[in-house]
């Protein structure tokens, strides 16, 4: 380990150890990517929270490195995305190789006019560090290190949490307990809740190295490369000149043997050639599972991120889905706590994010099946696709080395008002994420309100109570992206999904759609 120095955050003796503390509206378990993001999204809405984390530092290892545009747009609300973009590696292009030849090149954001790029590669420890810095500066967030949850007792309108610290145990009462404690969720285990899914047996070797030679910036994926002829290899560049090399090892590989530095070096030597020099950062052998809880909301206990669903790494759908989860949850939880919406609103968190998790699992499972075919005919079709790709463009589109994370479609949510006007050629339909566009000297995402936004193309709309009004004039890209004509109106939710749209501005229709979108319809 050389490029990143792990800070140890201070443990502070909780006041509860010296007498009963006050009941908390929200207690969050886990300070990974999801927990701190949720706390910031709640603080933005005036809701205080406690975060309990069992250790005192950030993610050990680079882990979730591809931060997607939609996650950056969320983090930007808290002022941390610029730091991530500055530190990270911006990339939008990727190349797929068969043996030693490139067969397919893709651009994830082929059109300009977005504040954020498709992806920024940044090691998870940096992302967590920036989130922690922001949380520690926020009065409404009480981030507690070395506070381990050892007991959870839900009751009708709250949860009692038992917490272990270096100074002993204490009890904490919460209106809501949000489990963001990862794939091995302690909360899920303590409640004995099942986590059904599929286990994959293929093993992969991650070697994070600091390469002291010239570095490729785009994502590269090889099928059967000369330096690893029986399997696939994925290459990503990260901050600090660190490369992530991900070797598929197969099912029968000996993980301990493969992890030995001399064996890793042998593979890297074949890959980078005789003149390359590198230093090791982190080495890990992993397998993965795809799992999803049957319900994400259990009374007053809510699960988010890897605690609720887990996917294979192909497509960067783990960390990014977790961020989308908590942004979906935060505004609903705030409305319920502020008694502006019924508690049933949280049921739509489960419905919408389970649909998203299903889509993510389906995508990542398809990528996994393409990269590691599970039966003979599957491999025959995979190899046929790769063989055809050189001469037939259609086959390049079938090559699935990971369908990279974009906002999932939350179709059929009871919060959405279905299109009444039928003449939409394109644009974000209800259930889809809003799309950024340049507006004046800035960006549409910077004009959105904290709560609902009414986006109107043209002049003359009146403000609707509880929503920020954004009027768009002649901006070409915005008009195209929203299939706009004069009067076209979109209702955008606080989590930046489209709730409804119309061909003309009608305040009564907007108010009705807002009621529906808050579970008050």
């Amino acid at each position: 380990m050389s490029t990143y120095e792990y800070r140890h955050y201070p443990y502070l003796r909780p006041a509860e150890l010296d007498g009963a503390g006050a009941r908390r509206p929200v207690v969050i378990v886990g300070a990974g990517l999801a927990g701190p993001t949720l706390a910031l999204a709640l603080a933005e809405r005036g809701v205080a929270s406690v975060i309990l984390d069992d250790d005192d530092t950030v993610s050990v290892g680079s882990r979730s490195i591809c931060q997607a545009k939609h996650s950056l747009e969320i983090w930007d609300r808290f002022g941390v995305a610029a730091r991530m973009v500055e530190k990270g590696i911006t990339w939008e292009e990727g190349e797929v190789y068969l043996r030693d030849k490139p067969v397919f090149r893709f651009n994830l954001q082929p059109e300009p006019g977005h504040k954020f790029p498709a992806f920024v590669n940044l090691q998870q420890y940096y992302v967590e560090e920036y989130l922690y810095d922001r949380c520690l500066a926020e009065k409404a967030i009480d981030l507690r290190f070395r506070n381990k949850v050892v007991g959870v007792a839900p009751y009708a309108d709250g949860v009692e949490v038992e917490v272990e610290t270096p100074d002993g145990r204490y009890m904490l009462e919460a209106d809501w307990l949000i489990a963001c404690d990862g794939v091995r969720s302690a909360v899920r285990h303590l409640l004995g809740l099942p986590f059904p899914g599929e286990v994959f047996n293929d093993q992969f070797l991650i070697a994070d190295i600091r390469l002291l030679n010239e570095l490729p910036k785009e994502r590269r994926f090889w099928f059967y490369p000369p330096f690893h002829p029986t399997n696939s290899v994925l290459l990503h560049r990260q901050a600090d000149d660190v490369l992530r090399v991900d070797f598929q090892l197969g099912r029968d590989a000996d993980a301990e043997e493969e992890k030995k530095p001399e064996n890793v070096d042998r593979r890297l030597r074949q890959m980078f050639g005789p003149d390359a020099r590198w230093e090791h950062e982190w080495t890990s052998v992993y397998t993965f599972t795809c799992r999803m809880m049957e319900r994400f909301v259990h009374g007053r206990v809510v699960f988010a991120g890897d605690a609720a669903h887990v996917v294979s790494p192909f497509g960067a759908r783990g960390g990014n889905a977790a961020i989308a989860d908590v942004d979906n949850l935060a505004w609903k939880l705030a409305l319920v706590l502020q008694k502006a919406a019924p508690a049933t609103l949280l049921g739509t968190y489960c419905g919408e994010r389970r649909a998203a998790a299903r889509e993510n699992i389906q995508n990542s499972t398809r990528s996994t099946d393409f990269i590691t075919p599970k039966f003979a005919a599957s491999r025959v079709f995979r190899d046929a696709t790769l063989a055809l790709a050189r001469d037939f463009p259609f086959a390049r589109a079938l090559i699935n080395s990971g369908r990279l994370s974009i906002p999932t479609v939350q179709a059929g949510s009871p919060l959405d008002t279905p299109d009444g006007d039928a003449d939409w050629a394109r644009g974000a339909a209800p259930g889809q994420a809003m799309v950024d566009a340049p507006i004046g000297d800035g960006w549409l995402i910077d004009r959105l309100g904290r709560d609902f936004t009414v986006l109107v193309f043209g002049k003359g709309a009146k403000p609707v109570p509880g929503a920020t009004l954004v009027e768009v004039g002649e901006e070409k890209l915005a008009r195209e992206r929203y299939d706009a004509r004069p009067g076209t109106t979109y209702l955008i939710r606080p989590d930046r999904y489209v709730a409804a749209r119309w061909r003309r501005f009608d305040p009564a229709a907007v108010e009705a759609a807002m009621k529906r979108a808050t579970g008050n319809g």
Partner: protein, 74 residues
């Protein structure tokens, strides 16, 4: 199955010279090992599926092939 069934998959003859096409497909497999036949057929299926382009027809063909395999294995 009756031609009157409405579906995306054509079930009546669509080839002007059916014997020629049938024999062209069979002859293309001549001299191939079983493994090569599989690799060849996979390429052929992908090329034809993309050419057909109609997902409903492709899915119907998949179901029909599977059903024929299960029910009428010669």
């Amino acid at each position: 199955m009756a031609d009157t069934m409405t579906g995306a998959l054509r079930r009546t003859l669509n080839l002007a010279r059916p014997d020629d096409v049938y024999n062209a497909i069979v002859d293309a497999h001549k001299d191939l090992s079983d493994a090569q036949c599989r690799a060849f057929d996979a390429r052929l299926i992908l090329l034809l599926a993309n050419h057909v382009g109609d997902e409903a027809a492709i899915r119907e063909a998949l179901a029909a092939a599977r059903q024929s395999l299960e029910e009428r294995e010669p």
